[in-house]
Symmetry: C2
Subunit: 246 residues, 2 copies
């Protein structure tokens, strides 16, 4: 019996080009893509950590689109019965992000936009799960503060972590940091969006794919080999499935 | 054992006010709301009509937001393995609708934007399911052409129909047409969005609710009694559940 075909990997530069193409020739709006991406993140959390055991989710959002996915996920998680708290120390200024925050405020979801070590440690103590939506495919090191401190505290907390698109601090094409306090950062769950990135070759946890919006045209143009999604699911479990080399 | 609490009904005017509020104080974009609404429509189709038996879905889209929900649903249905065809005889001009159509074109989904009786009858013959996203909560009769002819042909075809937000041609606050060829139009499945409308008191089929995006703030302001959604589902089956009087 032949094995499953290897899933394509998107290098940082190709991921950027493909993302741009979804919004230009693909005619998707950021609002649409972020809503679907964030929804798929929330579904992975629900699948892996039912709210009864991990209700208190600390959603850590970075300054870019990855952070926006986290803001959307937090809203859906609230709808599923979780009690999310959002940590968003470098809030993004475009209108979209302000609107996503307002949607959270209307659900009485706490949003912290100023970082202090004490506050973050206190929030970690009150949480039983982390969503890491700090950095996505456009990350390039070194990790700037306060995100280095935040990630170190997350590692020290031993809480389970669900990373969005890439484990934050990992170089997209290279993998984990080679030295320093984040050298051993390995999230328990990863949801790759659109397609996994080369750093996933170093990843050894539960692995999902989300972002069921790639058009036929784009799939053909980029010669993407992606796994089928089951039924009407927005996520597919790709743990231990073979990944292509780049 | 006490029964389930009656689900609130939204009159046409209150539905309009609430929709406006979601986008003003609620800070949602049309893109976001339409994506979530259309996704929930696609999930109802999948739940009730698995693609193996009803792959050829004719998605009939009207000129307003209800039509936009249909355009989004068609895209998701394609992702689930259906072969949707879109009938969109009065395409809406705002950029959002053009983008939703482009997203369908990139999947090679046929979109028909000119009505002729012959064409529509031919499409009905080739289809095994109808999504009726012609008119939503802002409908006010009489039904204008070509939509009267289209709806009559749908009724005559005896195909199963999934209606979006309201059975098209039904007065939102009053119910079915009292005379004429559409007097007996009763879809097999209805998905109400946000909350059911008063016309649902006349409806006797499978009934779902979608639009899991109502904020706590809006729910309180409008004294909305809505059923809980199960797990991470975007839809909830409310068939035979008691509806409030308005």
């Amino acid at each position: 019996m032949p094995g499953k075909p290897a899933i394509s990997l998107l290098s940082a530069s190709v991921a950027k080009a493909l993302d741009g193409e979804l919004m230009s020739t693909g005619a998707f709006s950021v609002d649409q893509l972020m809503e679907l991406a964030g929804l798929s993140v929330s579904q992975v959390v629900y699948r892996e950590y039912p709210s009864s055991s991990h209700a208190k989710v600390l959603v850590c959002c970075g300054p870019g689109n990855n952070g926006g996915d986290g803001l959307v996920a937090a809203r859906h998680l609230w709808q599923y019965g979780y009690q999310p708290t959002v940590y968003y120390p470098k809030p993004s200024s475009p209108d979209l992000y302000k609107r996503l925050c307002k949607q959270l405020e209307d659900l009485d979801i706490p949003i912290h936009t100023t970082h202090t070590s004490d506050l973050f440690h206190q929030l970690l103590k009150q949480s039983n799960l982390i969503v890491d939506s700090l950095f996505g495919f456009s990350f390039k090191g070194p990790v700037r503060e306060p995100f280095g401190e935040i990630l170190s505290a997350i590692v020290d907390s031993k809480l389970h972590v669900v990373s969005v698109d890439a484990p934050s601090s990992w170089e997209i094409d290279e993998g984990p940091q080679k030295e320093g306090p984040l050298k051993n950062f390995n999230p328990n769950v990863l949801i790759s969006l659109t397609a996994p990135k080369p750093c996933c070759n170093f990843y050894k946890g539960k692995h999902y794919l989300g972002g069921r919006f790639v058009s036929k045209a784009i799939k053909e143009k980029y010669h993407l080999q992606l796994p089928p999604y089951p039924g009407m699911d927005q996520i597919v479990d790709i743990t231990d499935q073979p990944l292509a080399t780049v």
